[in-house]
Symmetry: C2
């Protein structure tokens, strides 16, 4: 990396919404760094992509592409829950935030969080929430989040 | 309450999805027991109801009505998040579970949870999750949930 250049110029980083062509840019492989994610067929990928696209602003997936090599190096999603509570309010739920293991230390996670949080605010959410491990608590605190409740889970498989 | 009768017959409890007429049966007042929820105009209620109805199985609100007095005494919602992770999996998010303060101790909360959990399983979710306070942890454990992560929040207002 050249020194003296702003990070964006040096690394050619593009922060944007997921595009259908991102499957060939390592998007699924990136998710595999987060949890179990077998290979997805092109057909299944397209179907899920269309399902999510049809939700418009109510489900947004952010990616960061390193355009110098055409590789997706960070991602995260937010979906907008519509409630009756608090005068028909909305809440943003952030999910599946991951930064490529070779691209850490460049604040890409923070930029993904900013993108998702800004989106939630822009569509009228009064808060955004997410669940994380204790180990990642400090990272989210740096992004302006505070610890609130506990997450409970029930598995079917 | 008569004794010797099963709870359902004695109390005329009906477990079902939210209907638009439930606004006049105390649905909003019940939500007010959970958190801030000012009066909602009929127009706003109808608009939000239609928005959520258009999501079909992807957003379901369960209510329990005491048909002997036409009052909603418990509620909870679940929305279905569609992911790319885990081979294009789905996760159910349970929200806004509340039982009327005069109807507690009749396991209505557990019945709402069962309704929502069964729905999530039926549409193919591999798990359901929810966030709760430490005080409510024991209740959710009785419903088959286990503690997993921590919830982080960022407020906009």
């Amino acid at each position: 990396m050249q020194t003296g250049l702003p990070l964006n110029e040096a690394c050619n980083l593009q922060v944007r919404k997921l595009e259908i062509s991102d499957k060939s840019k390592g998007f699924v492989e990136l998710l595999q760094q987060l949890t179990v994610c077998n290979t997805i067929s092109d057909e299944d990928f397209q179907m899920r992509f269309q399902e999510l696209s049809s939700l418009g602003d109510d489900h947004v997936i952010c990616v960061i592409e390193d355009t110098s090599c055409g590789k997706i190096v960070a991602t995260g999603s937010v979906f907008i829950e519509k409630k009756f509570l608090r005068n028909c309010s909305k809440v943003g739920h952030i999910e599946d935030v991951v930064v490529d293991r070779d691209s850490r230390g460049m604040r890409l996670g923070k930029r993904v969080l900013s993108f998702l949080t800004d989106h939630a605010r822009s569509v009228g959410c009064y808060k955004v929430i997410l669940d994380c491990s204790n180990e990642n608590k400090a990272f989210y605190e740096k992004c302006g989040f505070k610890r609130k409740e506990i997450q409970m889970v029930k598995y079917f498989i």
